[in-house]
Every structure is written in C-alpha cells, then in structure tokens.
C-alpha cells in the first residue's frame, strides 16, 4: 500500500473529521506530497537525522541474551540510542521541518509516555518553533521525568483531566485545540494514527528504521531477517520497522500490551481483542463496548495505553501479512529485567513488550535463524515505575 490515495488501507483509515479541520488536512496533504520528494527537503531532513538525532542507529547482536535463551540470534535495532531516547524523533524532525516549510509558527502535540512530547520539544527548539504538548494527567504522574524534560526544553505542557486521563484524551484535547486555532497551528501527531494523511506520513518518516535494518542485515547475513518484531501502541515504530519488509518473506510480529491479560479487560491489545470502529479521524480496530463507547485501557507502559491503532496495522491484521501478539505486564517486567541484566541495556517498557515476544520466538527458533527486534526507546523514564512495581509485587 504505497500511498493510499483515498486515504484508505483496504477498508481502514479515511478522514472522519469536523469540517473546520478539512482545509488544514488538505493543506497538510498537499504540502506533504510536495515536500516528500523535494530534494532540498530530503537533504535537510537527512542532515538533521544524521547529525542531530544520531542516525543510522546500530544493529546490535545481543549475544548474551541469545546464548542464554539457546535459540535464534537476536539483533536489537537501537532506536533507544537516538537523541531524546526513542524513535519518536524520526517523525518529529520530519513533521517539524514540514511545518516550518508551511510557515506554521505554533506546534501542538499529544503525548503518552512523554517521549513524543520530548521529541517534539527538541525538534521545535532546534528549528526555532514553539511547542505546546497535551498529556493525560495520569501520564504526567507516571512519566514525570519527561514532563520536566519538556519544561526544560521550553515546551508548554497541558495536563488533560478529561476521560481516562491518558493518551486518547490527550489526542482529543489536541484536536480541540487544533479546531480552535486551525489557522495558525500545526498538529504534530506522534503515531501512525489519526485522519489521512497522518498514518501514511508518520509511517514514511519512521520507515528509515526498516530500511536500515534491511541494509544492515544484508551486510551481516546477506539476507533479510527470519523474524522482525516491534511493539504496537499507535503503531509508528512498528509500521516504520515493518513497512520496508512487508514484501519480503520475513515473518513479522507486532506486540500489543496485554496488561493484566486479554480476558481481564485491563489491557490495550486493540488488534488482538478489539472490533472495528471510528475514533480520532480514522476507521480502525478499537477497544469499545457493545454500544460503541470507547473503553478504558491499561498497560504498565504509558506509550501503549491507547484503545486504537494505526489503520495500516488493521489492514495487515485482516490480510494476515502481519501477526499481532501481546505481552502481559508480568512478561514485560521479566523481559525488562532480562535485557537489562544480560546486555546492560535498559529498555523502555514499551519496547520490553517486543523483547518479551522475541524471547518466546528465539527459544523456539533455530540457531541459524535471526530475529530483529526494534528497541524503540530507552528505559530511563521507567525506572521509577519498575521499582514501584517490584516493591509492590515483592510485598504482596
């Protein structure tokens, strides 16, 4: 699905938006189509990605972890080493640069774990723009390190106290701001979700992950990896990893947050347990009740705590090109500790979902097989959360 002209991946996607936003969305699509193939734009973005953000990121053979598991070789795509500590900067540099070309002076964004907010604040500081970030109140508490970081970077953080006080409500509030200030404001959406053209644009900006993996694995093994794994919240690091590989024979697995388990209702596994619906401008799989009210989600990781998912993932779920599995909070903590202790790498809790799946796949796999896992971010922001979790569960 190169560029979905009518904004649809199969039946998924579209633009279900208030009429006030239509001119802004049309302007965005026009400019995105113009600049995405513009030589100077590409050169400038490439410059920032290399010299500012730190691309290309290494592909690290996790020897200790692989040998401990005794199965396939696990390679980590080190997006955690990027400036800001997550893959989010790939997208924020692209969109902030685009906003600048469009002469937009005010940037708004939503954030869950705070990583997209931080990456937005950085890109805006670097490019001389002002950023305001909406963040669910619950997330401002469990990810408060990132609130301080955004503050220091000069972004204004608006805590959102409506609804479940997490990512979905931050998106609602950002959209309301955009409706109100549509003529001056650029909405820098942080995942492969929302109305067309956001899902395809964010996917394109994140696809550098999968493109580099292809080149790097070719150098190492002279072939594509046998399996590729990434965690799925809205789905941006996953689609960026997967998209360049969907036409190869690699097995592709997206990992959702199973929270307390898929039967518990306390999870965020939209593709594994959801049904089709319309939210945040897109038709996609959602977690909702039998009357179409969006349900509250849970994940130990704020970045995956979202009841929707990017429409292109819904498409690949239905066409069965990509498998979508899930990992529970308990499995995630185990994976988090295992990677930290075997390799000295502290992963973001979001990324630890992908590690948990990789552990399962590697155990069953052959030594000659290779698995690439996208380590979407580093775990400094989660250290306190993990400590609280361990304290609580040791006491219990």
């Amino acid at each position: 699905m190169k560029y979905p002209k009518n904004g649809r991946f199969g039946e998924f996607g579209g633009k279900y938006i208030p009429e006030t936003l239509v001119p802004a969305i049309e302007e965005l699509e026009k400019n995105y189509l113009k600049f995405k193939n513009d030589k100077n734009f590409k050169k400038e973005l490439d410059y920032y990605l290399r010299v500012y953000a730190g691309r290309p990121t290494p592909l690290y053979y996790a020897k200790n972890l692989s040998e401990k598991l005794g199965g396939s070789k696990i390679y980590l795509k080190r997006e955690d080493l990027l400036h800001g500590g997550a893959h989010k900067i790939n997208n924020t540099l692209g969109q902030a640069l685009l906003a600048k070309k469009m002469n937009k002076k005010r940037i708004i964004a939503e954030t869950g774990a705070g990583q997209h907010g931080v990456a937005t604040a950085m890109a805006c500081a670097a490019l001389g723009m002002k950023a305001e970030v909406y963040m669910g109140y619950k997330d401002t508490i469990r990810q408060k390190l990132n609130v301080f970081r955004m503050d220091l970077l000069g972004a204004k953080v608006h805590p959102v106290k409506s609804g479940s006080k997490t990512l979905k409500d931050a998106i609602n509030e950002a959209i309301r701001d955009w409706i109100t200030n549509v003529e001056t404001t650029y909405y820098l959406l942080g995942s492969a979700v929302g109305p067309h053209p956001y899902p395809v644009m964010v996917r394109d900006f994140q696809s550098i992950i999968g493109q580099e993996i292809k080149i790097q694995m070719k150098k190492i093994n002279n072939k594509v990896p046998d399996s590729v794994i990434a965690c799925v919240g809205g789905g941006s690091n996953a689609i960026g990893t997967f998209y360049p590989l969907v036409n190869t024979n690699a097995e592709i697995i997206g990992v959702e947050a199973a929270g307390h388990g898929l039967k518990s209702k306390l999870h965020s596994a939209t593709l594994s347990a959801g049904s089709k619906g319309v939210l945040h401008g897109m038709m996609t799989y959602l977690l909702q009740d039998e009357e179409g009210q969006i349900t509250e989600t849970h994940s130990i990781s704020a970045g995956l705590d979202y009841p929707g998912v990017g429409p292109e993932h819904s498409y690949y779920k239905d066409t069965k090109r990509i498998k979508y599995h899930s990992a529970t909070d308990v499995e995630v903590i185990d994976a988090f500790l295992m990677l930290t202790r075997t390799e000295g790498i502290i992963p973001a809790l979001e990324s630890a979902h992908a590690i948990a799946e990789a552990v399962k796949v590697a155990r069953k796999g052959k030594k000659s097989e290779s698995i690439v896992v996208t380590l979407s971010g580093r775990g400094d922001k989660d250290v306190e959360e993990v400590q609280n979790y361990l304290n609580k569960n040791v006491k219990d």
């Binding site: 009518n6 208030p18 609602n172 109100t180 619906g277 939210l279 945040h280 179409g292 969006i294």
Partner: protein, 268 residues
C-alpha cells in the same frame, strides 16, 4: 416531506426563523430530560436536538463533555434512549434531531441504527465527525428515512459548500466559530460574513442554522438579522439545567426558551 422541512416551511409562512434547542439526554438524569423537553415545547422551541453521549466527544467544549460523562455514568444506553424518545413522542410531534458521533452509528451499523432511531421518532442526524468523503454508506442508509444534517465552517471553501449543501437535508449547520461547542467568544465579524455568504451561495435552497457558542438573546438577534434561518443553542441550556432544581426545571427552561424564541419572530 420530512418533518424538519415541513417545520421550516411552516415558519416561513409565519415569517419566523427557527429556534433549535440542544440538550444532552440523561443529564443529569432521565427525569430532567423529560421536564426539559416539556419546557422547550412550552417555551416555543421549533426543533429539539438531543445529544446522545459518546466517550470521546472531540468537537465539544467542557460543558457538553461534562454532560456526556455524567449521562454515561448515569447509564444512558441506546435502547433506553430510544424508549425515552418514544415516551417524548407521546407528548409532542416537534421535530427531533439526534446529535452524536459517527462511531455510535457505525458500531450498530448505519442502517440498523437509523431504522431503530426513525421508529422511535428521530427525524434527523448531526454527526460532527462525519465528513462528506466518508458519508456514502450513511447517506444511503438515511435516504427516505431521516434527514442528514451536515456541518460547514467559516473556513469551508465555496466549492465544498456547494457539495455539502447538495447532500445535506433538513438544514445546513454553520459552525459559528473556530472552536468547540459552548466556548463563548463573542460575536465575530467572520461569522456574520460567513452567514451572508452562505445564504447568497445557497440561494434559499436549504435553510442555514448557526450554532456553537450561541447562548444569549443578543446572539440570536445578531445571527438572525445577518440572515440565519435557524439558531442552535446548546451549552447555555446545559448550564441552566445544571443549576436548576428538578421541580423548577420545566418552567425555567420554558421562560429561557421564550426569551430566545422571541428574537426569531420577524416584524411584519
């Protein structure tokens, strides 16, 4: 002819414009909704717009957001809502429009939801997140059943207004301000200009209703004199409902409605 269309024709004969009153069902409870509807009818509202709550009302400001949350907490569900509409229908045949979000219809299936709504007594729909590009199935399901009222905004291009006014039935909803519902920004020149231009462009083929932030008699007067065929008042009603005890609700709603309605009656 649809009931909404008939209503506009009747008002035209009487040299009046329409007052459309919005309330959130089940806010703060079902009894209040019944009393409010009685007050609206008594006070002379021409069309009633019932809001059905959605968990994520992204076009709504704090007042309607809060009302949605409370309504859902109080247990508003689709079937209960239809039963309530049937109850209301025993008392009045005033045109009733349902305002909610696309997912509520999508999830049940457009056809099924619209059929059930029509059976209960709903005459039309307003879906603020339904763009014309995505509306094919919805329009098909509503055809010959209920009106499909689409929204335009002060920044909508002439070309789009042309398209939207062709598929909108009942009336065309002009969003007065850049913003969500209920946020009071005062009367803007761009709104008055938009009303005049849309009226000129649509040449009376479809009535133009102006809503979002319309809350006082003064607003009603200004928009009507700029050429609006209808005004839609919402958040102001919810604020009044919130601070009025149940036993005074019907009479206070009626007198507030009367105070708005009188500015839609043109001098002969």
């Amino acid at each position: 002819m649809s009931k909404i269309k008939e209503k506009f024709a009747e008002l035209e004969r009487k040299n009046q414009k329409a007052l459309i009153s919005y309330i959130m069902v089940g806010f703060p409870d079902e009894r209040a909704t019944i009393s409010t509807v009685r007050g609206l009818v008594k006070g002379g509202a021409d069309i009633i717009e019932l809001g059905f709550p959605f968990s994520d009302p992204l076009a709504d400001g704090p007042v309607i957001q809060n009302a949605s949350t409370i309504s859902l907490e109080k247990g508003t569900r689709i079937n209960k809502f239809f039963t309530l509409v049937k109850k209301i229908r025993k008392e009045t045949d005033i045109p009733i429009v349902l305002m909610t979000y696309t997912n509520i219809l999508y999830h049940k299936g457009y056809s099924k939801f619209i059929r059930d709504a029509k059976k209960a007594g709903i005459d039309g729909f307003i879906l603020p997140d339904m763009s014309i590009e995505e509306s094919k199935e919805y329009i098909k399901a509503a055809k010959n059943n209920t009106d499909t009222i689409f929204l335009i905004s002060p920044n909508t291009t002439k070309k789009r207004i042309e398209k939207i006014s062709k598929i909108s039935t009942g009336f065309l909803y002009l969003v007065a301000v850049f913003g969500t519902t209920g946020v009071k920004t005062g009367i803007k020149n761009y709104t008055l200009k938009a009303i005049r231009e849309v009226k000129k462009q649509t040449k009376g083929k479809i009535p133009i209703g102006v809503g979002f932030g319309v809350s006082t008699s003064e607003d009603v007067k200004k928009y009507i004199s700029a050429g609006a065929d209808a005004v839609i008042v919402g958040s102001a009603y919810l604020k009044l409902i919130e601070k009025t005890p149940q036993d005074k609700l019907e009479s206070r709603i009626a007198s507030f409605t009367k105070s708005l309605k009188k500015h839609t009656i043109l001098k002969q």
